[in-house]
């Protein structure tokens, strides 16, 4: 091969890998990411059943009920709205009523949320920032003009 051909091979290979990488990343960013929503946003955006997202807020007081097997039901609230969450499995160590929680799963036709993972905060000092932000936003929303300040985006 001549020098020029070798150089072209190298540039071609680099370009090809780059193109593959960009393609993979763009596709994945389209359908492999999950949005974070607070209960108020879920109501506001009228999310369709089957939508997959992360639901964050506080575990409502006196809302946790465990039934047979490993089924557990609780409500997640951001102060304005709350959503019933169903989960099968063991809850994390730091799961408590009145504490911040992030659940990942899908919205059901009846408006409840089926979570396949439940994450609680890592230690008592720390609250998932998404949750604290959502709560702040809700606090602001209630204090100001209802129905306007809470608009996401």
């Amino acid at each position: 091969m001549t020098r020029k051909q070798r150089r072209l091979t190298l540039i071609g290979a680099a370009g090809l890998v780059l193109a593959v990488a960009v393609g993979l990343i763009l596709t994945a960013l389209n359908d492999r990411i999950v949005f974070f929503r607070s209960p108020a946003e879920v109501a506001e955006l009228k999310l369709q059943p089957g939508t997959r997202f992360r639901l964050g807020g506080l575990v409502e007081n006196a809302s946790v009920s465990k039934s047979e097997g490993q089924k557990v039901t609780f409500r997640v609230t951001d102060g304005a709205k709350s959503i019933t969450v169903n989960h099968t499995g063991i809850l994390p160590d730091l799961f408590r009523e009145g504490q911040g929680v992030v659940c990942e799963g899908t919205l059901q036709p009846d408006g409840s949320f089926t979570a396949d993972t439940v994450l609680a905060k890592h230690d008592e000092k720390y609250m998932p920032r998404e949750v604290s932000d959502a709560l702040k936003k809700q606090g602001h929303w209630q204090g100001d003009q209802p129905g306007q300040g809470g608009q996401p985006k």
Binding site: R6, L24, I25, A28, L29, I33, I90, E124
Partner: protein, 656 residues
Amino acid sequence: MIVETGHFALVLALVVAGLTMVVPLMGAMRGDARLMAVANPGALAQFALLALAFAALTAAYVGSDFSVQNVYENSHTDQPLIYRFSGVWGNHEGSILLWVLILTLFGACVALFGRNIPEALRAVTLSVQSSISAAFLLFILFTSNPFSRLFPSPAEGRSLNPVLQDPGLAVHPPLLYVGYVGFSIVFSFAAAALILGRIDAGWARIVRPWILTAWVGLTAGIALGSYWAYYELGWGGYWFWDPVENSSLMPWLSGTALLHSAIVMERRDALKIWTILLAILTFSLSLLGTFLVRSGVLTSVHAFASDPARGVFILLILCMFIGGALALFAARGPQMAGGALFSPISREGSLVLNNLFLSAACAAVLIGTLYPLALEALTGDKISVGPPFFNATFLPLCLPVVLAMPFGQQLAWKRGDLLSIASRLFIAVLVGGLTALAVAATTHGTDVVAIIGLGLGVFVVVGSLDDLRVRAFRSGAANALSRFAGLPRTVIAAAIAHMGVGLMVIGISATAFHEERIAAMAPGDKVQLDGLDIVFGGARRVVGPNFAATVANFAVFDGGAKVAELHPGKRTYVGRTMPTSETARLTRGLGQIYLAIGDSHGDKVDVRAYWKPWVLLIWIGPLVMSLAGLLSLTDRRLRIAPPRRVRKAAILEAAE
């Protein structure tokens, strides 16, 4: 008094760093050997002063001096000695101090062991290294002083975060930092080469042991952190694609690329500009990781209490060093003559392929980590980029690297012959293929990705070792043993390291065949895993030195015979309200039975039980890679003053 000494040592270290930053550089510019001679004592003095400061903080921790705010917030007299000790770096201020300590350690090592490095290169390298330590010392003194006092002094401390009270986590940060921060010296070497305008194969030969040292530390540190997450967090996961984990993976990926491109630079005097760029980018990614973890823009178990001022400060340091180095690169890079070009099918060509894909994989991780931050800043939308994203991008980009590994290892320099290698790798392909078929048959082909992964892993393990067989038997079986003994250690190390990658691939692929049982168990209940009966015997309360625990008792039966007892538990530490999990594991071959308990209600306890076949390979693989790296460090062909090189590797080993 000791505490004030530590504080004073930091201020003094800053002054010394400032001097070492300026004087040797001036000396190199003017060709004045006396000014350049400041570099060595300057680097050594910085390390000595940092060691003094670190010792002072350690003394405050071990002696439970709660008049020091940092000790008050992160220690407790009831903590066992090891956690009063590891608490030093279990918090923001202390961990940054450790960061700078290791930074200066690398400078001191260059001063001590780098006598065969050309004087100007060594002087400028140490001067750049000192500029990094000066910047971080300013950061410590202005925003994160570990020596601030409290008055009046509290009687008792608030104790170390319970999840950090674990032997694994006592070792994880120092090891990780050897890697993370170790790349700083490579960065300094690169910047020095650009400043001096001299980049050649000799540079690569000098820098390669340092790249290797940092890489060994980073590999082992990441593996240890992953194993800790596996047994401490109680979910049985080993990698969560958490942004903080990604911040350590990115320098690892680009550091691995650097390790390979430096070989090409050393042997063929090619890829010079690219290698310099990688050296700059690798440490830039380390800095980016430090920024992400320390600034509080991310929330994670790794993020300690954050303060916006710190974030801005680190961002400034980040921009200064990355921007400065890239500007220097842009100015000087084009003047450096490009090296030899080569045929695509050759050892060099395969190493370029490795670099392309590793860089692309690194970019995918970078985008996945930063995209949520950018999106939130721009639109306010909060998203989570988790395993689905990385599985769809990172894995396909790594696949060619792993697949090409045994081929690249056997390709000749300059011009290789792919066909003859393919025929030599026939055995490896056969074994890998048969493995995949056997797994597919026994599991009825349920998980295609896992089956391909297992086959690939076996292919890589066999193919890597096959390289050694081929080299040893090149001139017949008679003198194979002596030929093997005569192989350069770098060749053996490369084969072993690649085998480690294969082992890790096998371990990761086998996670698809994990069995999980989740049940609320009363005493006498049992679950079945891997043909074993696991019988719950009840739970009891236990009081430890600084915690109260619920400990469950499980007996494991094989047929009728009891083979083991397991005691998973939950602990609540003094001064904390939240419990932490203590998992119990039973190792069987390379797999583990893994038990964790949740809440108890009445006499019933929520139990999570897993059978994880081959799971240990996930960490044995990286361990093998690190050991191979150490072996490679002892190679005689790192031939600058061979006898001393051997000693140095031994000392580095001891230091790690």
